[in-house]
């Protein structure tokens, strides 16, 4: 019997319910408001009072209304048909909702229960299996979707019977498993899992040792993110967080991309809905939407469901990871999630931590990031979740609780700088402040040097060094004036500008420049570093800027043309010509000296 209670207090979406029976922290309940049922979650219990956060507007709600507690936490449905869906934060399929406006109390089925899937059996009778073992696979879009032993199953089971190849609907029983006591358990293609509990259907979680190619030069080349790694992108408004995440979702070499649009603009989600079904996945040639799932809790959707949305996204990611896939999980913006926590904590009159955020904010963020990772699965396969969140610091000031808490746990820091955004140096990732801790991992360095080039990491550090020295030179020039410093300062500054314009800056809206393959990144870094190693001869500082601008222009035209195309080579010739002028100048100088 479910516990029943009655509403005794209402402050916005915080509702107090008096009950006789038992209730549990994070238990889901429904308020029977008129002929709709409003979903809510228990967030605190004191005596016979349960404090619940309602995932909907509480307009019109009255004291005395009946509340039914469901005996389980907030869960998602896991099964074939999740890919390409557009969900709200509670995993309602937005397409199945009626009308233009979201109606309160409308909950829709997350998967298409009537659809038949082409099914191939993987296990056989008598097999010993554990939670997460693959029993069969069905075709979801182009992808083999594994039907697994439900994650809630504890210990070892024996496959008693399993259906042969065929076409089945998600809720048909496909296997019967017996546990060690000999009890039988039916398995369908669908299972449910509480979002706030990590799915641990893996045997080991090693340190990440490969990189995830993103196609974005300033990330891959300078501060690569590991497959199964974590990163975050803090930046003031308008600095390019969303454009960068969208670009990642289009170009990163993941099997699946899950986007949690968390308290941000609806139009940005619409952009994904509209463009992804048209855009090609550069790796498979299929449509990008086929590998993408969106969890949308835009800023005008109920605040309480915002917290749920990131957990829903993570749980779906974990489900697919257990199938041996490489998942990229993006959340924009984790600050909105933290703010939702803050609103609730304030309403409950909890003792506030810094800036009014809940005291345990750091722990909540740390636990969430810890769910990402590269894993070994029971059957020996591997899977990964690479997680990148954005952070929207108040006033653009990074000394605030969400940024600081995230910095403690995320291994890559891609700080977007207002100055760079203002001068349209996109993506505005600050090359000096940003870092990837993975570059310090010996296993990653080894991987890079093996897959790209044996001197790769030393080239990367060389480029970083040039950027830093360029910045110092620039500061000196600003203090002492153009002719107050030796010519060499100007050259040093322009060498860093060269790397800035050619490697760091990348036009997310240009068809060609938007993504750069690792080969190409290797080539361009080499070419550019080669130029920085040359000796240059100028008579006055006034010649330096214009000359380097021509070099930069030629290299940028290369970035804008297809790799290895005629146009690419033409621009390369142009570059050689410009560099040749220096050779001539040099030999002239030498002959005069002789």
């Amino acid at each position: 019997m479910n516990t029943i209670g009655k509403v005794s207090g209402i402050i916005a979406n915080l509702v107090i319910v008096e009950t006789e029976g038992t209730t549990a922290q994070n238990e889901i309940c429904f308020i029977k408001h008129g002929d709709t049922r409003l979903m809510a979650e228990v967030i605190k219990v004191v005596g016979n009072k349960s404090y619940i956060q309602v995932f909907e507007s509480t307009r019109g709600l009255k004291v005395g209304t009946e509340v039914e507690f469901m005996g389980h936490m907030l869960e998602v449905t896991l099964g074939p048909g999740i890919l390409s869906k557009n969900y709200d934060g509670l995993q309602n399929d937005l397409h199945k909702m009626e009308g233009v406006f979201l109606k309160r109390g409308q909950y829709t089925e997350a998967i298409d229960v009537d659809k038949k899937y082409e099914y191939k059996v993987l296990a056989k009778e008598g097999d010993q299996v554990v939670a997460g073992s693959w029993l069969a696979e069905v075709k979801e879009n182009w992808m083999p979707h594994k039907i697994m032993v439900p994650f809630t199953f504890k210990g070892e089971y024996t496959v008693k019977s399993i259906k042969g190849d065929g076409e089945y609907a998600p809720k048909e029983v496909i296997a019967v498993l017996t546990d060690q006591e000999g009890k039988e358990h039916k398995v369908t293609m669908v299972q449910r899992w509480p979002v706030k509990v990590p799915i641990r259907a893996y045997t080991d979680k090693p340190r990440p040792f490969k990189i995830l190619e993103t196609g974005i030069r300033v990330m891959d080349t300078l501060n690569p993110i590991a497959e199964g790694g974590t990163g975050f992108i803090p930046g003031p408004f308008g600095s390019g967080k969303t454009v960068l995440q969208h670009n990642l979702s289009k170009n990163a070499e993941a099997d699946l991309v899950i986007i949690a649009a968390c308290g941000e603009r609806a139009n940005e989600v619409v952009e994904v809905f509209t463009e992804f079904p048209e855009l090609d996945d550069p790796r498979t040639g299929r449509k990008l939407m086929e590998r993408t799932t969106i969890i949308a809790n835009t800023s005008n959707m109920p605040v309480a469901a915002r917290e749920a949305s990131v957990y829903t996204a993570m749980t779906i990611a974990e489900y697919y990871r257990a199938m041996g896939l490489k998942i990229l999980l993006l959340a924009d913006s984790t600050s909105r999630w933290a703010q939702a926590l803050r609103e609730m904590s304030n309403r409950m009159e909890e003792l506030p931590g810094p800036d009014g955020f809940p005291m345990d904010l750091s722990a909540i963020i740390a636990n969430f990031y810890a769910r990402a990772g590269f894993v070994y699965l029971p059957d020996g396969d591997t899977g990964s979740i690479t997680f990148i969140g954005t952070v929207s610091p108040a006033g653009g000031n990074l000394k605030e609780p969400v940024t600081e808490s995230t910095k403690k746990v995320a291994r890559c820091f891609y700080a977007l700088s207002q100055d760079r955004a203002d001068s349209k140096r996109y993506p505005a990732i600050d090359p000096i402040d940003s870092y990837s801790k993975y570059l310090e991992y010996p296993e990653i360095a080894e991987y890079l040097n093996k897959t790209i080039d044996e001197n790769w990491t030393s080239s990367v550090f060389k480029a970083k060094d040039i950027l830093l020295r360029g910045k110092e030179a620039y500061e000196q020039i600003n203090i002492l004036g153009d002719d107050g410093v030796p010519l060499d300062y100007h050259i040093r500054y322009w060498k860093s500008e060269l790397i800035d314009f050619v490697i760091l800056q990348q036009d997310a809206f240009d068809k060609i420049d938007a993504s750069s393959s690792l080969d190409r990144q290797y080539f361009m870094l080499h070419r550019t570093l080669g130029i920085t190693e040359r000796e240059f001869h100028f008579d006055s500082f006034e010649e330096i800027g214009p000359y380097f601008k021509r070099v930069i222009n030629a290299l940028k035209q290369m970035n804008y043309s297809n790799y290895e195309s005629d146009e690419f080579h033409k621009n390369q010739k142009e570059l050689d010509k410009i560099l040749g002028e220096q050779e001539e100048a040099k030999s002239e100088e030498e002959s005069v000296e002789a």
Partner: protein
Amino acid sequence: MEKDTKAFQRVYTKLFQLTKATVSLQAKGIGYDELAIVDGRLAQVVKIMGDMVTLQIFGGTEGIATNAEVIFAGKPPSLKVGDDLAGRFFNAYGDPMEGGEIMGEEREIGGPSVNPVRRKQPSEFIPTGIAGIDLNNALVTGQKIPFFADPDQPFNQVMAMVALRAKADKIILAGMGLTRDDYLYFKNVFDNAGALDRIVGFINTTEEPPVERLLVPDMALTAAEYFAVEKNEKVLVLLTDMTLYSDALSIVSNRMDQIPSKDSMPGSLYSDLARLYEKAVQFPDGGSITIIAVTTLSGGDITHAVPDNTGYITEGQLFLRKDSDVGKVIVDPFRSLSRLKQLVIGKKTREDHPQVMNAAVRLYADAANAKTKQENGFDLTDYDERSLEFARGYSEKLLAIDVNIDTDAMLETAYDLFNKHFKPEEVGIRQEFVDKYWKRN
């Protein structure tokens, strides 16, 4: 304010608690968000604890006695919508200012949000003739964007100009803490342009209680939804001034003892503002709601909680400032941004638009650096001199708010300026565009 008392309405006369903005009393069967009239003033339920109900009084509680009459309305705030709204001005409660009645259907204000999958991606360019907007920060139907400006900037004038040139089917003006002069100015400009029949106004002036303002944007957006959804019209909503609206939010939250967040604004400011701005939408059937707002700054500070949260919500911002070099108000190309511009520029406008726009802004940045150098007393290079000259021309001929030309002319003007001061390789746009559009002489 008059409201008729109907049979089902419950009347109470014993207040338990009075604060500056709220009253509490014992009452039964009250719905959350429900409206009430307390001593003739409109109020709304903001908290229910057992049988203790707390009401927020929009007009303030001055003079309310503990035996004041409280009549519950049994419904949340609403507006009567219909074609009858057009051409009229209303107060914050949705009552016509010139008196009379509105024929129409009653709608709750602050209603639910549009299902994101029922939205359409905005794609219709809104030309304004102002190059600081069209060239650098093109606007699109369904967009939400504020002017960021100090109180002494002519933002209401620019907004009125943009509204009239935008070719909207309806213009809905939401005035919050508008001075009476500015209110009359808007009325006048729209009247002179013969546009009054396309206007609907919801006005709270500085003469009225600030808390009343809280109703204004929801009223305006409810009217906007009527025209956009039911009539498939292109609706432009003008919200001025959202900083004064936020001040009203902070008054209420402070009086209700909520823990203030940055700049004494409520912790929920982001959600409160996003709820309104997200009403901007492009519907598949052609109707749209575009929101142009004003957020006044203090001393150009955009890190203050109101502009900061706004920036995180809106699709860019238009930053007005006076350029003392040319003596005109310009749309600052560094601080301004239209995030939806890439949906139209180079697509609905000439193909080279994005590149020309970026190149010009980059050169303007070079000029800013040169200016810093100059101010620090350093010698300028020839390039510095040229970029400074370019900047003057750019500011005067393109950034100033008094420019009124079409986008092709804006692009031509930009090439003229490039050609006058720079060589193509210094401008750095794609060679094919240089070959095609750069007229050298």
